[in-house]
C-alpha cells in the first residue's frame, strides 16, 4: 500500500501523543519547591478555555498569547490538539476499545453508537459551550473542573504522584529490612525527598473523587471510542467552535469514493458526514485514520473542505442558552454560600473569595508544588461551587515560611504570584486560642509550642507568666500564650504543631467575609 496518505505527519501521531504525555507528567513532576526558571505550567497556561475564563474575569497576562495562538490553530489544523497533544485525549484513546485491523474495520459492527444516538449526541458540544458561557457570565469557574488539562493535572497530583510516593516508600521499607542496604535507602530517600517521596507521605482529601471522575471519563469510552472527547469535553467544544471556520481540513475525492463507509467507522471523533464526502470540521482532529482505512485512497487534507456542521435550530439555541444562563445564575445565587466556613483559609495570593471561585480551574497544581501538603482540595467549606479549589488544611501541614511557590504555578491568577518577602506579610487568616482546651490555660501545665514556632519575626504569639491557684488549691506559675491579632498572618504553624490531640487548641480562621 504505497499511499499518499501514509506519508503525512500523522504517521507519527502516537509519538506526538506519548511525547506530550511524558512531557506533561515530567513538567508536573518537576513542579516542586524550589521552582526553577523553566515555566512548568506551560500546558495549562496555553489552555484557551482557562485563558478566556481568566481574561473575562479581568486577569490579563502576556503568557495568555500562547492560549490565543492555540485558539487559532483549529482554523488550519482542526482539532489536532485533541489527537496529537492533549494528554487526556491520549489516555482516553488508550482506554477506548480497539478496532481490529484494517479488514475488520470495514465490516459493520465496529464499536460505537447507533446512527440515531450519534445524531443526538453530536448536538451536545454546543450546549456544553452554552452552559460554560452561562457559568462564565455569572463569574463561576466551577465548569473548569471539566477542563481536560485541569483534570489530568488534578488526577496526577492527587493520584499518580502520591501513588509513586507510597510505592517508593514501600520499596524502601522492604529494602530497609536488609541492614546492608539501609545506607543506600537513606541516601536515595534524601535525594528524592521533597521531590518524589516526602518525609511524611502525601495525602489529598479528595483523591477518591478525582479517581472517580478520571475513571468515569475513561469508562465513557465503552459507549463509543473517545466518547468524552467527542461530545463532552469543554475544551474540545471550544476548539471545535473555531474549527467550524476552518479553512483547511479533511477532503474526499468524490470520484474515487466508493461509499464503503470505512472512514466513518474508524473516525474516532465522529467527524465523517453526508455519505462520507463531508467533514464536521468542528470535530476532525486530522488523525487521518480515515485515510489509512480508505481502500481507494480518496481522502487527503486540503483547503476549502466540504463541511457538514451541526447548526442548532433557533429554538434549540435559545433553549440551550437559557438553560446555560439559568445554570450560571443558580450557581451564582444558590451554590455559593453567603457565609463561609470560618475555617476556610485560602493560600496567600488569593483575592476575594468570589475571585477564587471565578478564576480557579481546580487543577491542583498549587497542591502539587506545596512542600508541606497543607494545600488541599476543598470539599464543602467553600460550598459546592468551591469543590476542589485549594484551601489550607492545618491538620495536614502549615504554610512554609521559605516557600511562595503556589502563586507561581497558578495558571489562572486565582493565586497571584508573590515574592517571598511579600508572601511573608500576606495575611490569610488569624489564629485564635481556645482557652478551654489549651494546655496551659486548662491543665495549668507548660507548653508554648505555638509561641516557639510562630515564624513571624515579631512573634504573633506572646506569653504571659501568670501566677494562679488551681481548683485543687495549688499555687502555680504558668506561661500562657496569647495571639496578637495585627501580627498574625494565619500561616497555621501553631495549629499544625499544637500538641492537643484531635483538634488543635489554636485554630486559624479565615479573613474577610
Amino acid at each position: 500500500m504505497s499511499r499518499a496518505s501514509r506519508r503525512g505527519i500523522h504517521r507519527f501521531r502516537r509519538l506526538f501523543q506519548v511525547g506530550f504525555l511524558v512531557l506533561f507528567v515530567a513538567l508536573l513532576a518537576f513542579t516542586v519547591w524550589p521552582l526553577g526558571s523553566v515555566y512548568l505550567g506551560a500546558f495549562l497556561v496555553g489552555d484557551p478555555l482557562i485563558a478566556i475564563n481568566s481574561a473575562v474575569n479581568g486577569v490579563l497576562r502576556p503568557e495568555m498569547l500562547i492560549a490565543l495562538v492555540m485558539l487559532a490553530v483549529p482554523l488550519v489544523l482542526g482539532r489536532a490538539f485533541c489527537g496529537y497533544v492533549c494528554p487526556m485525549g491520549t489516555v482516553v484513546e488508550w482506554a477506548s476499545p480497539r478496532k481490529r485491523g484494517g479488514a475488520s474495520a470495514r465490516t459493520p459492527g465496529a464499536p460505537g453508537l447507533s446512527p440515531k444516538a450519534r445524531e443526538t449526541w453530536r448536538k451536545v458540544p454546543v450546549f456544553v459551550l452554552l452552559f460554560s458561557a452561562g457559568m462564565l457570565l455569572f463569574a463561576s469557574g466551577a465548569y473548569l473542573v471539566f477542563d481536560p488539562l485541569a483534570t489530568v493535572t488534578r488526577s496526577a497530583t492527587t493520584l499518580l504522584f502520591p501513588f509513586v510516593d507510597r510505592m517508593v516508600r514501600l520499596l524502601g521499607d522492604i529494602a530497609y529490612l536488609v541492614p546492608a542496604l539501609r545506607g543506600a535507602v537513606d541516601a536515595v530517600t534524601t535525594a528524592l525527598a521533597g521531590r518524589i517521596v516526602y518525609a511524611v507521605p502525601r495525602v489529598y482529601g479528595l483523591a477518591l473523587v478525582a479517581l472517580g471522575m478520571f475513571a468515569g471519563i475513561l469508562a465513557l469510552s465503552v459507549a463509543a471510542p473517545r466518547f468524552w472527547c467527542r461530545y463532552l469535553c469543554p475544551l474540545g467544544a471550544l476548539l471545535g467552535l473555531v474549527g467550524r471556520f476552518g479553512v483547511r481540513n479533511r477532503m474526499v475525492d468524490a470520484d474515487a469514493c466508493i461509499a464503503c463507509g470505512a472512514c466513518e467507522r474508524v473516525c474516532p471523533l465522529d467527524a465523517v458526514r453526508d455519505e462520507y464526502l463531508a467533514t464536521d470540521t468542528s470535530r476532525c482532529q486530522l488523525c487521518m485514520e480515515c485515510a489509512d482505512a480508505c481502500p481507494t485512497d480518496a481522502i487527503s487534507i486540503g483547503a476549502r473542505p466540504k463541511k457538514a456542521l451541526y447548526k442548532p435550530s433557533r429554538r434549540a439555541f435559545v433553549l440551550g442558552a437559557g438553560a446555560g444562563l439559568l445554570a450560571g445564575f443558580f450557581t451564582f445565587t444558590g451554590l455559593r454560600r453567603r457565609v463561609h466556613d470560618p475555617h476556610l483559609v485560602r493560600p496567600p495570593g488569593t483575592g476575594a473569595e468570589g475571585d477564587v471561585l471565578a478564576l480557579c480551574t481546580r487543577c491542583g497544581q498549587c497542591m502539587k508544588v506545596c512542600p508541606t501538603n497543607v494545600l488541599q482540595p476543598s470539599l464543602s467549606k467553600a460550598g459546592l461551587e468551591g469543590f476542589f479549589t485549594p484551601e489550607m488544611d492545618y491538620g495536614v501541614g502549615n504554610c512554609d515560611w521559605a516557600c511562595a511557590e503556589c502563586g507561581k504555578v497558578c495558571p489562572t491568577g486565582a493565586i497571584e504570584p508573590l515574592g517571598l518577602a511579600e508572601k511573608r506579610k500576606t495575611v490569610i487568616g488569624r489564629a485564635y486560642i481556645d482557652t478551654t482546651r489549651c494546655i496551659p490555660w486548662t491543665d495549668y501545665r507548660s507548653c508554648l509550642v505555638c509561641q516557639e514556632l510562630c515564624p513571624v519575626p515579631d512573634k504573633a504569639i506572646v506569653f504571659t507568666t501568670d501566677e494562679l491557684t488551681t481548683p485543687e488549691g495549688e499555687a502555680l506559675t504558668v506561661k500562657r500564650p496569647h495571639v496578637i491579632a495585627e501580627r498574625c498572618i494565619g500561616c497555621g504553624v501553631c495549629e499544625f504543631n499544637c500538641p492537643v490531640p484531635r483538634e488543635s487548641a489554636i485554630r486559624v480562621r479565615g479573613t474577610g467575609a
Binding site: T190, G194, A402
Partner: protein, 336 residues
C-alpha cells in the same frame, strides 16, 4: 478465547497479583512497625578515648603514657566560626580523641526551620562544615548530618545553608523518615521512660551534638540538651509538658561524645525561631565539651544568666547528669 485475549488476561492477573503482594507487604510492614509503647534497650558507645585501643605492640617494657588531661570545656572566640570550632575541638584533644579511623560520625545541628544563617535560628553552616572536615581528617568513614525540622525538611536544610556547606565538605545530609526512628527505653527516665529516637544516634561510633544558642519561650534557653529534641520522633509537642524533667531523662540516655555549642551568633529574643536580625547578637564564640549540662551551663553566661536560672540544668545537676557549677569546671578559654 484467542491467544491475545489469554495473554491479556494473564497480564491482568499478574498485575493484580503484584498489587496485592505490594499491599500485603505494606500491611505486614505496618504491623511490624506498630508502636507497642516499649522499645529496645540501647547503649551509646562510650567515649571513644575511654575504650582502650587494641594494642598491636608487644613491648611490655614501655610504660603506657600517662592519660592526657583535657579541660572540661574549651571556649574559643574569634571572627571565623570555622576557626573557633577547630581551636575549641583541638583544645579538647583534637578530633582524633572522638573520631577513630573508619568511624561513622553523626552530627546533629539545630535546623528547626529554614532560615538564613544570619538570623541565628540554625547552627552556623561554616562551623558544621568545619566539624565534618575535621571528622574526615581524623579518619571518619562517613559523616552524616541530620535534624528533624518542624516543617518541610528540604526547605529547612536548603535555606539554612547547612546542606550546601556539609555537602561541600564531603558530608551527607540525611532527611529523616519514619523508618529512621525506633522506640528506645530510657532506663533512668523519671517522667519519660521510652520514646522513638533516630537510630543513627546509637548506631554511630561518634555522635556530635552541635546546637546554636537561642532563647526559648518555654525552656528560657535552648542549647545542647534542648537540641536533642531534634532526634526525637513521635508527637514532640507532648515533650513540652514537664519539659524540665523529660529533657533530663533524655540526657540520661543520649550522651553525645562531643558537644559543640555554636554561639557565633545567638538569638537573644523571640527564640527559638526568631526571624529578625535585631534579635541576633554576635558573641563570636564556640563552647565545646563532652558533657551537655556543662556546655549549656557555660552557654547561659553568654545570655547574661546563671546556670541555675534554668530549671532543667538544676535538675540535671541534681540527678548527676552533669556538672553545671562553672567554678568546679576546668575551662580553657582562648582566641582563634
Amino acid at each position: 478465547m484467542d491467544r491475545r485475549e489469554f495473554c491479556r488476561m494473564m497480564l491482568g492477573c499478574a498485575a493484580l497479583g503484584c498489587a496485592g503482594g505490594l499491599a500485603g507487604c505494606a500491611r505486614l510492614l505496618e504491623w511490624s512497625a506498630q508502636d507497642t509503647g516499649t522499645g529496645r534497650t540501647v547503649t551509646m558507645s562510650g567515649e571513644p578515648s575511654a575504650s582502650p585501643e587494641p594494642t598491636t605492640s608487644a613491648e611490655p617494657t614501655v610504660a603506657p603514657p600517662p592519660a592526657p588531661v583535657y579541660p572540661d570545656l574549651a571556649v574559643y572566640r574569634g571572627d571565623d566560626p570555622a576557626a573557633n570550632t577547630r581551636a575549641a575541638v583541638l583544645a579538647l584533644g583534637g578530633m582524633e580523641r572522638f573520631v577513630k579511623r573508619g568511624a561513622r560520625v553523626a552530627i546533629k545541628p539545630n535546623i528547626i526551620v529554614g532560615r538564613e544563617p544570619e538570623l541565628a535560628t540554625t547552627t552556623n553552616p561554616e562551623a558544621v562544615a568545619e566539624v565534618v572536615t575535621m571528622a574526615y581528617e581524623a579518619g571518619a568513614a562517613e559523616v552524616v548530618v541530620f535534624d528533624r525540622p518542624t516543617g518541610d525538611p528540604r526547605t529547612a536544610y536548603t535555606v539554612s545553608g547547612i546542606q550546601d556547606a556539609v555537602e561541600a565538605a564531603g558530608g551527607t545530609m540525611k532527611i529523616l523518615t519514619e523508618r529512621n526512628f525506633e522506640r528506645v527505653e530510657i532506663p533512668e527516665g523519671e517522667v519519660l521512660t521510652s520514646w522513638p529516637f533516630v537510630t543513627d544516634v546509637f548506631e554511630a561510633d561518634t555522635f556530635i551534638n552541635m546546637p546554636i544558642g537561642k532563647t526559648h519561650g518555654m525552656a528560657v534557653l535552648t542549647m545542647s540538651m534542648k537540641n536533642l529534641m531534634g532526634i526525637m520522633g513521635g508527637e514532640r509537642g507532648q515533650i513540652h509538658q514537664e519539659f524540665e524533667h523529660k529533657i533530663v531523662d533524655v540526657a540520661t540516655l543520649v550522651k553525645p561524645h562531643l558537644v559543640i555549642l555554636d554561639a557565633y551568633r545567638i538569638m537573644v529574643r523571640n527564640g527559638p525561631t526568631g526571624g529578625s536580625a535585631k534579635d541576633v547578637e554576635t558573641p563570636k564564640t564556640v563552647v565545646a565539651g563532652t558533657n551537655m549540662p556543662s556546655v549549656d551551663a557555660y552557654g547561659t553566661t553568654l545570655f547574661g544568666m546563671q546556670p541555675t536560672d534554668l530549671d532543667y540544668l538544676r535538675n540535671a545537676a541534681e540527678r548527676n547528669v552533669g556538672v553545671v557549677d562553672l567554678g568546679s569546671l576546668a575551662i580553657e578559654e582562648g582566641t582563634a
